[in-house]
Symmetry: C2
Subunit: 172 residues, 2 copies
């Protein structure tokens, strides 16, 4: 299977957005997607860009059934653990269905692990849906530990209106 893993460039934006939406639809959360190729460009390629994205690209003669050469992606950013120091945090790992089982997901994980080491991180963290058993099995095979199951760490979100309300009460 011929493919390359490389950092994204601006010409990938539309394809990545397409895959982000495909992944969100798989999570039955398409209505939660408010990003656009323009937003991703401004946030990801500006001077203050805080995250990176890896893409898996196949040759033009082997496109996905939707005609894309970008068939997988992985977002990541530096974060920090007060116990461990720098860690790399992953957001999304996606490979289009007809290209699964060919090692592309593993290659994306290999490359992001390499980035983690280059940035001095001893740990790679990410979020996965517990019901997505094939994904959980895949991550477990790569050495991942589910610390929600093991240590009862739960993820919490404070959204929009509540963030504004909290901020308004900030002491001068």
């Amino acid at each position: 299977m011929s493919y390359i893993i490389r950092p994204w460039v601006t010409r990938d934006l539309k394809d990545i957005m397409h895959l982000i939406r495909e992944s969100a639809a798989f999570h039955k959360a398409l209505d939660q997607v408010t990003t656009t190729p323009e937003i991703l460009r401004d946030d990801g390629f500006g001077k203050e860009a805080t995250f990176g994205c890896l893409v898996a690209e196949v040759p033009p003669e082997r496109t996905s059934k939707n005609g894309h050469t970008i068939v997988g992606y992985q977002f990541h950013y530096l974060s920090y653990c007060t116990w461990d120091g720098p860690i790399l945090f992953g957001e999304d790992l996606y490979v289009v269905p007809e290209f699964r089982g060919k090692g592309i997901g593993t290659s994306l994980m290999n490359k992001v692990a390499k980035i983690a080491l280059e940035k001095g991180c001893s740990q790679f963290r990410f979020i996965s849906a517990q019901w997505n058993q094939p994904a959980m099995d895949f991550f477990t095979r790569l050495g991942a530990v589910n610390v929600t199951t093991q240590d009862h760490w739960h993820l919490c979100h404070i959204d929009g209106e509540h963030v504004r309300k909290l901020a308004e009460q900030s002491r001068k």
Copy 2:
């Protein structure tokens, strides 16, 4: 109750480290703490610093029983959601036991929410231990949603040796 919430400075490093260890001990995870005041300084005050820390400080005449004027802290960093765009991620929120119930935790959350808005984030995310019911109740009162319980998002870690092993298999 007289206290201020402000960004950390290098003279806070030892006090913050003391509180990080106190918090880790509360989580029965003191053996997982490898950071030191020097590591926090190099990572948090260098040119490439990727995270911030807020501290709660009381006047010298009202120190904690351990003699500290820094009685609470909160770490945060910018992260990115492919669905929502920029988000602020929190790591640790801690107030020493004898200073709890005085609004210090809420003031730290107010200030971090303000930072989130200033940085263009519509969401504040953090991890909390499910068994820490007082913390969970506190966050719920502030508008937090536990997306592990609600949407089955689980947190996974790939550590040290497994990161190195993955990286070694990275395609040239």
